[in-house]
Symmetry: C2
Subunit: 139 residues, 2 copies
DNA sequence: TTATCTAAGAGTAATAATTTTTATTAAAAA
DNA sequence: TTTTTAATAAAAATTATTACTCTTAGATAA
């Protein structure tokens, strides 16, 4: 078992990820980290995000056909993505009362069900406002 | 508005996709189509799968970080993916009684919620059997 | 039927996000 | 301090998918 080393790069990457409640992509985070470590490599950011999410310290948000995003909060919670600008926000657990998922133990074809992933999509307030503005201009 | 042409390639692609209840990737389907149309191009398969799913004739199964798969059944239903081999199967609608999702109208941050995607993952019967066999060999 | 228009085809090159490789550096153990 | 090897920087590779270019062939009109 190979042991984990505490490197300066890794510390800064984690710090920057946790500093904001946004869910940056690897390259967005890279830009932020670069302000503090100008010689850091994008591959280092990717590698560390991979390691940290494997360890359950952070969370990887994978959405089909889009860049991966990363969440400094490792706790299980759902996300909503803006269909227009791609922005990702948390869906509060308090709202979970409004939806409920009971997993079957086996799917009909005999799969042992181990996890279920719920992803919301919609339009964020900013994009909605923008759309409304351009609509009223057109008329 | 550009009109759709009925081409031989498109017909075969759709036929082959619907022939099996599997959910092939573009290249798997390409191999199948190639047996009937040896000169077909992979790009043609991709283009037609795109067109057909845009029209709602088929369904694109997009899972983060993995190849897209395609489903000849356009009706809304859930899927389960094997974490080991990547195979995708349908989760029957009959089972939907076991889980229920009520969408909130707005997320806490003011997103207008428009859709929710539910993806199951687990271990398929084949991989489970295989795992069991290799475990018993080890002891 | 024949001419015309253009969607769609084949084949290939390009793209983009991510991962791997290689040589070097630096944590941490000895 | 020396040694070990995980982690880094930088570059190259990978891989699925898309775009491009030129050609072919459905569909419509003459």
């Amino acid at each position: 078992m190979k042991q984990l080393r505490k490197t300066h790069q890794r510390e800064i990457i984690l710090e920057e990820l946790c500093a904001n409640p946004t869910h940056p992509t690897a390259d967005e985070l890279y830009e932020r980290v670069r302000r503090r470590l100008p010689r850091v490599s994008l591959a280092t950011v990717y590698r560390n995000l991979e390691i940290l999410s494997d360890l359950g310290i952070i969370q990887k948000i994978e959405t089909a056909g889009r860049q991966k995003r990363y969440d400094g909060n490792p706790e299980r919670h759902h996300h909503i993505r803006c269909l227009h600008c791609g922005r990702v926000d948390d869906v509060d657990m308090a709202e979970d009362s409004e939806f409920e998922i009971k997993m079957p133990e086996r799917s009909r074809h005999g799969f042992r069900v181990m996890d279920v992933k719920v992803d919301f999509s919609g339009i964020c307030p900013d994009c909605e406002k923008e759309a409304r503005a351009s609509r009223s201009n057109a008329h």
